[in-house]
């Protein structure tokens, strides 16, 4: 299959707000639970280990008209909760047996409370990701949270959690991570072969599939992309930051690319990438604790994770330099508190490091990209001509 065909198929599945791939999985796995997960991070192997399918929910994007969802949120609340609610109230998330709301911001947290009231027949779970990064304290608390979630899923009809199944699921997840990293490496090295707009769709598809199936997609795409006829383009290399929850429309990514920006790294599908490297399994260690340890020790810097003793912006500057990026594009969703509060600190770090950046805002259903094109075009020209923005 060609890269173009794979991407087209991935897009049709990602755009399917009726969650066709989830229905297909449930038909193939009678009695299996489908568990929705809101951004950013829920450990997927835990869910797969109890025989359930983790389903990453990113709202309705630009695919749905928001009518009922708007009646639950004031105008100054971001877009993803309203489109997610729109889908649910319209029955499009009925195939989900449970939802998990991780602690990333006040809006997603409160959406979890709304879910309990609006859909009392469905399991709704809040996952408190620790902000204290001492293994004996935060790690232990997080492991307890994960055990609690496994018990709740079991009570809802999932298989009981056992070590063997979890170890196996973590190993499969690590294979997927390695495949995703190879795709990311190709994007960084030859973005004309694996542009961000394609890699994004391939990565996002993984939120709807078991890890093993997603790995096959990634490997097929890698093979096809490496073999495709593609001409190197003299674009600027940028890192895209700030869109870790509500996702921008695909048109925005394509606009940036057309404006001369190769997005060689982004935080769009952060849930699959937030743990740096594989999840370590240690002899004699509770594999649930291994999941917790991976978050504590190797969870990547992002706006909704406390910075601890680290320096704000250090990780971004280091990443830009390591990747040989020319600059950064900040793209935060409107009214996204974590991203927008983080941004001035990140900007200051870039300014100190003399790394060019530009900033824009979006909503998941933004439909006009002319301004973005002009802004990104001016940015890429300035960086190319003078090395500054």
């Amino acid at each position: 299959m060609s890269a173009e065909s794979l991407v087209a198929e991935a897009r049709s599945q990602v755009d399917d707000v009726d969650l066709g791939p989830v229905h297909a999985w449930k038909r193939a796995n009678p009695g299996g639970l489908a568990v929705g997960t809101m951004p950013i991070y829920v450990p997927r192997p835990l869910i797969e280990a109890v025989g359930a399918l983790p389903v990453a929910i990113f709202g309705g994007g630009d695919q749905v008209d928001i009518i009922r969802g708007d009646s639950y949120f004031q105008s100054y609340i971001c877009h993803i909760p309203r489109s997610t609610l729109e889908l649910a109230l319209g029955g499009r998330l009925d195939c989900l047996d449970a939802m998990i709301f991780p602690s990333i911001c006040d809006v997603i947290r409160n959406l979890g409370g709304m879910w309990r009231l609006l859909f009392p027949e469905k399991l709704s779970v809040y996952l408190d990701l620790p902000q204290t990064f001492d293994l004996a304290v935060g790690g232990r608390f997080f492991a307890h949270e994960l055990h609690r979630i496994a018990s709740l899923l079991e009570a809802a009809g999932a298989r009981p959690l056992n070590d063997e199944a979890l170890v196996a699921a973590i190993r499969v997840e690590n294979v997927r991570r390695a495949a995703l990293e190879r795709v990311d490496a190709l994007r960084r090295a030859e973005p004309w072969r694996a542009p961000a707009s394609e890699v994004y769709l391939l990565a996002r598809l993984g939120g709807l599939l078991p890890a093993a199936e997603h790995t096959r997609w990634l490997e097929d795409y890698l093979t096809a992309a490496q073999g495709r006829a593609a001409r190197p383009v003299d674009n600027v290399r940028v890192v895209l930051v700030g869109a870790f929850c509500e996702q921008p429309p695909l048109g925005l990514l394509r606009t940036l690319e057309k404006a001369g920006c190769d997005i060689i790294e982004d935080d769009l599908q952060l849930g699959l990438r937030t743990i740096e490297g594989p999840i370590d399994l240690r002899e004699g260690e509770d594999p649930v604790f291994s999941l917790a340890r991976s978050w504590i020790e190797r969870g990547g810097a992002t706006a909704s994770r406390y910075i601890g003793d680290d320096e704000k912006g250090r990780a971004l500057v280091e990443r830009v330099r390591t990747l040989g990026a020319d600059g950064v594009v900040f793209a935060a969703a409107s009214f996204c508190d974590p991203a927008l509060l983080d941004q001035p600190m990140q900007e200051a770090a870039l300014a100190r490091a003399k790394i060019p950046y530009t900033t824009l805002k979006f909503a998941e259903n933004t439909g006009q990209f002319q301004v973005v094109r002009e802004q990104a075009g001016a940015f890429s020209d300035a960086v190319k001509l003078w090395g500054i923005a």
């Binding site: 911001c105 947290r109 409160n110 927008l340």
Partner: protein, 433 residues
Amino acid sequence: MSQNQQAHLRVAKEPSQERQKRMIGDHFDRLASVADGTCDEKVVYTFVPGNLTELIGAFGMLPVLPEINALQSGMRQQSAGYIAEAEKSGHSEDVCTYVKCDLGMLKSGNVGPTGTRLPRPDLLLLSYTGCFTFMKWFELLREEYKCPVVMLHVPYQPDGVVTPAMRKYIVDQLETVVIPAMERIAGKKLDRDALSERLARSAQAEDDLVAVWESARHRPSPIDGYFGGVYYIGPIFSAFRGTEDAVAYYCELRAEVEGRIARGEGPTTPDGRLDDQRHRIVVEGPPNWTSFNEFWRMFSREHAVVVSSTYTRVGGLYDHGFRHDPKNPIETLADYCLGCYTNLGLPTRIDYIEQTIRTYEADGFLINSVKSCNSFSAGQLLILRELEKRTGVPGGFIESDLVDPRYFAKANIDNRLQSYFQMLDARRLRHAA
């Protein structure tokens, strides 16, 4: 009697108000003396919900509460300039205006609400309770002050239940991270007996505060539980919980309120005493601070008294029985942090408001949805529907902001409130018929 004399009598301050004013003035004077180098007490910046005031006090440190400074700046009409200052330096118009007001104040010389300079923090004590923005706020302040930050992550209560694991997580953080960090800054070990003594005083003040809150069951209510209530919570939610001053303040306040009950008097409002109370209202959400008195008048002019509010529970939900326990000093701090209002899941918040409406026999409830505070605001339209469904009591909904005057549309809010109160009147007439 001249008009001036009448106005003076209308707004004459009670002894407890004078006492609170002195307490605050003295506290800011101490802070100013640290700022100008004449005093070497250590300074801890922290937040209202989940504040560890007794612990800070046991170390002999002085707390600074940035939200309080921001709201005071709002009341003194300084917040617009501070917010503009922060937005000029790159902060988004979309985000919390408390944060921007505080950053703008810092950039403008860090002169506090009483006109004296605030000292730099020796420690940012980040109690992460019920509001995600707090974390970002102190990350931003750390960039400015380059001082240590210590995080206390308080788990959320999605089910309204405190589990042993939650409590242990907080206790472990206090014992292994927070207290050692404070000991390093203070240069001395924690005196646990002194902490317990402070906690005992907290419990005493909390008893009196709850008696004040519950006085609103009377008709007429002797207090306004929202506009007046924010003054009543001042000492206990800020620098004074666990102090002799706070005990004296709440004892005095309680006696004043009991006096009003005995005399059949209502609370003092900006326009005088409100004895004739036509509407008893419960309010969800913080007040607007930039037009605080105008906002209050929109209620008192319509003879509406607020019998209870959720905002006055952000620093502790004492009316559900919680008291600081001097016998279990660390565990009780954990339970306190867990129980703050915005740390409760939406279903628990709704249960609480429903119970409040019934307990205080409210005729209506009103949601003031503030743009700045997603912790409060996200989900409030569902709260409105649920409460109307469960109680049959009509709800009102208005939108404003904490300290950004651009979002206080006076005519719009006034119109809505007038319509709302007229609707309550019509409903009462219908029921009477």
